[in-house]
């Protein structure tokens, strides 16, 4: 069974590579590069350290942005829970903020923060914060009132309730946000680099395309894909560990591609 699965998966990989090879033979290396060329270029770029350099830059922008946006997005719902009035006042503004197409802000961030890491971090943070905020908020609002009553009767303070009931109950929701936000953070960093940068995988794509160097574009795309897969895997495992109290299947069980 397990072996069959692996064989089938490898078969699909082989088919994809064959199709790619066919395209490059049919329409020319110029447009499609080729599997062999891309592999060779990858080895070359790995060897001279270029690939690692650009990957690290993009990963750094994504990670910083994820933290700068994700931490407030995670904590703000807990603050707002304590003050329903402030929550009611802010609600339409948060909804409007969520509605702003963040990628359209990229040129503005370039104007404000220059062309180094900062505008990419800002772009990623603006994407991630709303995603994490709204899913965590849903978790905070879905707190089980019966648990809260039980805790109050048992002598729990508001702080105990926030810590022992609202927080653990909201964690699965927060992770729903993280799972969506994680690939977005890489995407945001790349878009930031496409617009203006002299480093990063987005820059590699941009530079490659400008030079009609499709091989470099493909190398960058594969690298990005691998990064996103690794991030998804990390988030899924962190989640599995944090939520080990949950039954493995059933309502609310999380679905993560590739995990």
């Amino acid at each position: 069974m397990k072996l069959q699965l692996t064989v089938d998966r490898v078969l699909i990989l082989v088919l994809c590579i064959a199709a790619w090879q066919f395209c490059s033979m049919q329409w020319g290396l110029h447009w499609f590069s080729s599997p062999l060329k891309t592999t060779n270029r990858t080895i070359e770029l790995l060897g001279n350290g270029d690939l690692l350099y650009h990957t690290a830059y993009t990963a750094k922008a994504a990670l910083y942005g994820f933290l700068v946006g994700g931490i407030p997005g995670l904590l703000l719902p807990f603050a707002l829970r304590r003050s329903p009035v402030v929550n009611a006042i802010l609600d339409p503004y948060l909804a409007a903020g969520y509605g702003v197409p963040k990628l359209a802000l990229a040129p503005l961030f370039v104007l404000w923060f220059g062309i180094d890491l900062e505008p990419k971090v800002a772009l990623v943070a603006s994407l991630v914060s709303f995603l994490v905020f709204f899913s965590t908020m849903a978790g905070v609002q879905a707190v089980n009132g019966q648990y809260v009553n039980m805790a109050r009767v048992a002598g729990a303070s508001e702080r105990d309730i926030a810590r022992h009931i609202v927080w653990p109950g909201a964690i699965p929701y927060a992770f729903a946000g993280f799972r969506i936000a994680a690939p977005y953070s890489i995407g945001g960093a790349v878009v930031g680099e496409l617009i203006s940068s002299n480093r990063g995988l987005g820059y590699m794509i941009q530079a490659g395309a400008t030079d009609f160097d499709t091989t470099t574009v493909f190398v960058s795309l594969f690298t990005l894909t691998i990064i996103v897969v690794i991030i998804n895997w990390l988030v899924a495992n962190l989640e599995r560990w944090l939520l080990r109290w949950r039954p493995r299947t059933g309502a609310g069980a999380s679905w993560v591609p590739g995990a």
Binding site: V153, G155, R246
Partner: protein, 266 residues
């Protein structure tokens, strides 16, 4: 044990209705002018039809929910039952075992049982020894590190029961705590409850819709009417303790009492 002579808890003229729904001029009364008293260390059972307002009554006594009128006195002190002045559990004087076990799914069994002690800052060697004792009494030893979803319904009920007993509140309210389990488990749980109650007598108000359960467990049974709930009858249960619940139906006086209460409930 004379309830009227030394009442530890007294409910007087309690009434409750929820705010009217839209399109409704007046909401129906859930409780109207309900009065009764409970003696120190008495196990009082209340039996009433589904929807009689039993849960609402316990919610009010526990100060989880506000009353519309009437008053409740506990050990001579009058509780403030209005909206905004509620103090759930009244500083841990009231234990409350609800219909659902309300075990926190993200905590292990032992962490759930010790939860009240932890938040009250009373978790120490002495209370931990008490918890261990309770765990033994209800056969939960060996399952300390299990999460609630890994336990059977009966085990979860027992855990929720000893979670309240662990911090030793002077009075405990129980709202059909054994409702959603099979008959055999139920008898076992009832027996566990009586055993625990015998170990350290305390005042218990046990609410149920099961006539047999009310008679088998109680010192005294109050029969409630349909909503708005009123006490329609009161019976002292003179079945000798300790009671063997595995053949409670054979106990002297059980059958007649059952018939009487059944007719009163109609």
């Amino acid at each position: 044990m004379n309830a009227t002579a030394t009442p530890t808890l007294e409910v007087r003229g309690l009434s409750k209705r929820f705010p009217p729904r839209s399109g409704q001029a007046e909401a129906p009364w859930i409780l109207a002018d309900l009065s009764f008293a409970v003696a120190q260390n008495e196990l009082l059972t209340m039996v009433g039809p589904s929807g009689a307002g039993k849960t609402t009554l316990l919610n009010i006594i526990c100060q989880v929910d506000a009353a519309t009128g009437g008053e409740v006195q506990f050990e001579g002190q009058t509780m403030r039952l209005g909206n905004g002045t509620l103090n759930p559990g009244w500083d841990c004087r009231f234990g409350y075992v609800t219909q659902d076990d309300n075990l926190l799914p993200w905590r292990t069994l032992i962490d759930n049982v010790t939860f009240p002690l932890r938040v009250q800052g009373k978790l120490n060697d002495q209370t931990m020894a008490r918890v261990t004792e309770l765990m033994k009494t209800v056969n939960l030893v060996g399952f300390e590190r299990y999460y609630p979803h890994e336990l059977s319904g009966g085990m979860r009920k027992r855990a929720s029961l000893i979670r309240t007993l662990a911090y030793d509140p002077p009075i405990i309210l129980m709202d059909e705590p054994f409702g959603a389990v099979d008959a055999q488990t139920r008898t076992q749980l009832q027996q566990d409850l009586l055993r625990l109650w015998n170990l350290g007598r305390k005042t218990i108000i046990f609410v149920t819709h099961d006539i047999g359960e009310a008679i088998a467990l109680g010192d005294r049974v109050l029969v409630l009417s349909r909503s708005p709930a009123k006490v329609v009858a009161e019976h002292r249960i003179n079945i000798k303790r300790p009671r063997d619940l595995s053949n409670v139906y054979k106990l002297e006086g059980f059958g007649d009492m059952y018939e009487t209460v059944r007719k009163e409930l109609l």
